[in-house]
């Protein structure tokens, strides 16, 4: 099963998961990590530990808010060491809902493209 990890400062990640739960129901494949009390090295260690202990051979998407932010950096370094870990920045609800509703329908490689497209489609102005 492909999984999804949201990493953020404060309550952003759990709040996104809660909002998505109200829209699309429970999703057991989504995890969150709060990076506030973790320096860069410890954050990387936590992500690596999660990957090693969670049978993520099917793949993992790490979603973060800010490209270039500290969560993004830690995730980018981990992704370099693991073939089946992809990092997507610009976390929004469309992106997360895309994962939740489509992760069983697509293969890992395709799912990344689909999520990115859905996330970008969610950003618009009227």
């Amino acid at each position: 099963m492909v999984r999804c990890l949201l990493i953020s400062h404060g309550n952003i990640a759990p709040a996104f998961v809660e909002a998505s739960r109200r829209i699309a129901g429970e999703c057991e494949n989504v995890f969150t990590l709060n990076c506030d009390a973790l320096g860069p090295t410890r954050l990387q260690e936590r992500i690596a530990h999660l990957i090693e202990s969670s049978h993520l051979e099917d793949g993992l998407f790490i979603l973060v808010s800010l490209r270039g932010g500290s969560c993004w950096h830690a995730a980018a370094k981990i992704a370099r060491e693991h073939e089946r870990v992809k990092v997507i920045s610009g976390l929004n609800l469309s992106l997360l809902l895309s994962f939740i509703t489509k992760h069983k329908k697509y293969r890992f490689e395709e799912l990344g493209e689909v999520m990115l497209a859905d996330g970008i489609r969610g950003i618009s102005h009227l």
Binding site: G39, P40, L66, R67, G68, S70, H73, R80
Partner: protein, 159 residues
């Protein structure tokens, strides 16, 4: 070349830098000065990807001293980021002129003591700060532009 900002931050380029300071400073170039990162291609690439709106150079200490003296950066507004005061001492020893240093983040490691929420130092750091102050550098702690600067020369009794 004008050094618009010299920042000590062991996370280098991240949210506070890209979103917090860069719009204020409008640099032509970010220079991340670190021997270890500059010698690793993929890690350099990650930092270059972190602030795509701004030209970013990842350089060794020697490379930074060379780049700052180069014609290429002559008319540029530079935002220099290092991880520790030790790197600044070595840059100054190589002739780089620094007037003001802002400490934005020196995080906890064993043996370091807290002087602000985001600044932890040991005796070596203190010696390096003292070197900077002796060379007429204004030293402040300030993580984001909206935060009030803390005068480190006074706080650490460096004069």
């Amino acid at each position: 070349m004008s050094l618009e900002m010299v920042r000590i931050d062991d996370r280098f380029i991240h949210g506070q830098v890209v979103v917090g300071w860069c719009p204020d400073i409008e640099p032509d170039r970010l220079i991340l000065c670190d021997d270890e990162i500059a010698s690793c291609d993929w890690e350099s690439e990650i930092y270059q990807d972190a602030a795509t709106e701004y030209e970013t150079s990842v350089c060794t200490i020697d490379g930074t001293a060379r780049l700052l003296g180069d014609d290429k950066t002559k008319k540029e507004r530079i935002f220099l980021i290092v991880s520790s005061p030790a790197v600044l001492v070595r840059l100054m020893e190589r002739g780089v002129k620094i007037e003001r240093v802002t400490v934005g983040g020196m995080h906890y490691h064993e043996g370091k003591r807290k002087i602000a929420n985001y600044v932890f130092i040991d005796d070596t750091d203190l010696e390096h700060f003292r070197y900077l102050v002796r060379n007429n550098v204004t030293l402040e702690a300030r993580d984001v532009p909206t935060c009030k600067p803390v005068d480190l020369t006074q706080k650490l009794k460096l004069r």
